[in-house]
Symmetry: C2
Subunit: 175 residues, 2 copies
């Protein structure tokens, strides 16, 4: 891979994380090295099945700021911000190591949308990306500036979703 690009999957529809997972699988199939870092997700609670499979396929997986006030009202905003900042430092270390061809930052746009990270912090991070690395950001709330910087932006619009009919997240489909 010559030049790595920045891809963003945003919008309110289903398909952002699954797109990133599909990308990881395709990359692994071509012998690339993939790292997947997720934010605001708690596999201990939900057991995201795709992460287990990616790990088996050789994808390295890390998580930061697993709690979110939406799911756990007791968690302090400050502690989430600190966790996100730890995540940023970790990503910078991943950049320095240059071990991976693709780095997925799943739901990192949420960190920005919900004010845990500042736009300039993410933009500064993007500037530090090694040239050869492909970077994939997912989550609702990608800002105009982030979209400007990215090379690829897909906005996934929710036209219809079963939760609007009261159907809850289903095992094997939503987690």
């Amino acid at each position: 891979m010559k030049k790595g690009l920045i891809q963003i999957y945003t919008g309110d529809g289903k398909g952002k994380t699954t797109s990133a997972v599909g990308l990881a699988v395709r990359a692994i199939g071509q012998g690339l090295k993939v790292c997947y870092i997720y934010f605001h997700k708690n596999p201990d609670k939900w057991g995201y099945a795709e992460q287990k499979i990616l790990e088996k396929l050789g994808v390295k997986i890390f998580g930061f700021a697993k709690e979110h006030p939406f799911c756990d009202k007791k968690v302090s905003l400050e502690s989430i911000r600190n966790e996100c900042l730890k995540g940023l430092e970790f990503i910078k270390e991943i950049f320095r190591q240059k071990k991976y061809d693709i780095l997925i930052l799943d739901e990192v746009n949420i960190s920005l949308r919900d004010g845990f990270l500042k736009e300039e912090e993410i933009i500064n991070l993007l500037k530090m990306k090694p040239k050869s690395m492909e970077l994939v950001l997912t989550g609702r709330g990608a800002t105009k500036k982030l979209k400007e910087i990215a090379d690829l932006v897909s906005e996934i619009k929710n036209i219809k979703h079963p939760h609007q009919k009261g159907i809850k997240g289903r095992k094997g489909i939503e987690y």
Copy 2:
């Protein structure tokens, strides 16, 4: 899984097939049985890496109408329609067998958009879906009626794509 729904991933942005691949991986991780049928794709030419990995994970993969006039001008429209019709019969057999929890029909919307299949043929097919089976349709060009019938519709809008800058499909990213 109680009731299987119909999901559609359509629109002109990147993320339709990769979403379906991510869904397959998630489902496999929860012990579900997945079948993946693709249309208008030729792995012999492009070597879609994600398909090899899905197969290793236990997903059953089949392909129909591998050629498309967009890629091969010598192929006749009639032969593509016949291949698509064979695909429909095969899908009906998959429905009868009830062996799978999830069936993905990758790029089947293209068969409809490009006139190889008629809307009523797809709609009749959807009516035959076993109740417990989740059905996932991808590809540009899902019609209004198809969207009405589906339980979930995500429209992936292309905001920005590197091919607009002349960057060609990259190994490990686009195939």
